[in-house]
């Protein structure tokens, strides 16, 4: 898979990422390249390293070894593995959206302020510009009527959509979703997946760790199956779901359908 990761056209490419916590290997050398406009869904059993992998892509987690490239430029560390200055990593992160399982909206800010704070403080837009953009993005996730509410006044599904708007407002080149619907009550999952599907169809590049196989089937260009810190198998949704080549993939999918 190394040659895939080297492709020049990739929005983001990881090469040989490894990570261990206290002697336990979580990532055992993961490589992946995500192309412009592509929707990649990462599936796999819990503990397979999916979340850690996603968090390494924007250096929320520092990999032990391996490189991440954003449009060909190393992210987080230089080519010798030395961490980049904080300001530099921050700038790179601002180009990579991230949506968390637990939303992590800023608790003291309204929905609109949550979305506006990045454009205002990180991108340096004027207050008017930042808030205009925030209202636009809230409308994009169908929450224009909730702009003045604080996170505690919103449902989980609404909070997650605000979080998506917060990521979108930075005009990222890719958005990473870390189990975006796992913390939601079942009846609220659909509204979040709908927004993600709209983004995918609209040409946004995105990578999502998720257990929502229906979403994967409907929206993914490519599905990756991870287990024990490795990408075991990858292919189109049809290939992975209907004709998995690897025993481990088959087992996992069978288990899901039980």
């Amino acid at each position: 898979m190394g040659d895939v990761a080297m492709k020049e056209s990739a929005v983001i490419a990881a090469e040989g990422l490894t990570k261990a916590y206290g002697g336990r290997t979580v990532l055992a050398g993961v490589s992946i390249a995500i192309e412009e406009g592509e929707t990649v869904v990462i599936i796999g059993p819990s503990g397979s390293g999916k979340t850690t992998f996603l968090r390494c892509l924007n250096y929320l987690e520092t990999p032990d070894a391996g490189t991440v490239r954003l449009r060909g430029v190393p992210v987080g560390a230089d080519r010798h593995g030395r961490l980049l200055p904080e300001a530099e990593i921050a700038k790179q992160r601002s180009r990579i959206g991230f949506v968390f399982q637990r939303f992590n909206l800023f608790a003291h800010l309204t929905a609109e302020d949550n979305v506006a704070i990045g454009p205002r403080r990180v991108l340096g837009l004027s207050i008017e510009e930042a808030h205009r953009r925030a209202r636009e993005e809230l409308a994009r996730v169908h929450l224009e009527d909730h702009a003045g509410k604080r996170p505690s006044q919103l449902s989980g599904g609404q909070q997650q959509r605000v979080a998506i708007a917060r990521a979108l407002a930075m005009r990222p080149e890719i958005i990473l979703f870390d189990e975006p619907t796992s913390a939601l009550d079942p009846e609220l999952v659909g509204e979040v997946l709908d927004v993600m599907r709209e983004l995918a169809l609209g040409g946004m590049t995105l990578a999502a760790v998720t257990h929502e196989m229906r979403f994967a089937r409907a929206a993914a260009d490519r599905v990756l199956f991870m287990d024990a810190g490795l990408v075991v198998e990858e292919g189109t949704p049809n290939e992975i779901f209907d004709a998995p080549r690897e025993e481990r993939t088959r087992k996992f999918l069978a288990h899901l359908h039980e």
Partner: protein
């Protein structure tokens, strides 16, 4: 033993003079202590290990030694290095330094109590350490920081009684002066206690008022 009501009446204006001094010193120490404590608290959240350690050592020293000894150190040790301070300022400085140590720890703990997801989300949109601190963590920590801080400031006012040992003519010292002349410790110490009690009750009321105005979310 007869309770000397006449002396009580005569003492009130004298003690009021002492109280004014206590209020002046405490007001200054509250301002300096809060500012310094806030700054040290921020420093304890620095990305630089050396800075964090320096603050930790300072907080450790302040918490690990009696206020009385800290007052003596400021009053007697500073002249040795060529800094001569009148008792008044030695008192203000000692109380400020003491409160600052405790407030620094309150700020550090308050910011530390905020869920990790908040700063992760801020990092994910490209905010830097200082921005995360000022725009995300500090505003959210107010609710955790203000109540123990006002509590600490009340402790500061009570601690100011110790300044009597370096001859600052504050409330306690003023009372001791009366006792030295009239030898009526019961009357005077009771009066002093009432003066402190009223002062601190007002402060406690103010702090509750402030706490009620803290934002909820």
């Amino acid at each position: 033993m007869v309770f000397d009501w006449g002396l009580v009446g005569k003492s009130i204006p004298l003690l009021a003079t002492g109280l004014m001094m206590t209020l002046k010193i405490c007001a200054l120490a509250i301002v300096f202590g809060t500012i310094l404590g806030g700054l040290l608290g921020l420093a304890s959240l620095s990305r630089l290990k050396a800075v964090r350690w320096a603050v930790m050592a300072y907080v450790d020293f302040i918490r690990g030694t009696p206020l009385l000894i800290q007052i003596f150190l400021v009053y007697f040790a500073l002249p040795v290095v060529g800094i001569n301070l009148p008792e008044f300022w030695a008192g203000v400085i000692a109380l400020s330094l003491n409160a600052a140590g405790f407030i620094a720890e309150i700020v550090r703990a308050g910011v530390g109590s905020i869920e990790k997801g908040q700063s992760e989300a801020a990092r994910s949109i490209g905010m830097r350490h200082a921005q995360i601190l000022f725009y995300i963590l500090l505003p959210q920590s107010l609710r955790a920081v203000v109540p123990p801080t006002t509590n600490e400031l009340i402790t500061l006012v009570k601690g100011s009684a110790l300044l009597s040992v370096i001859s600052v003519y504050e409330l306690t010292r003023a009372g001791q002066a009366i006792i030295a002349v009239h030898f009526a410790p019961l009357e005077i110490f009771l009066l002093i206690a009432i003066f402190y009690y009223v002062t601190i009750s007002i402060l406690a009321w103010l702090s509750r008022w402030l706490e009620r105005r803290l934002p909820v979310w």
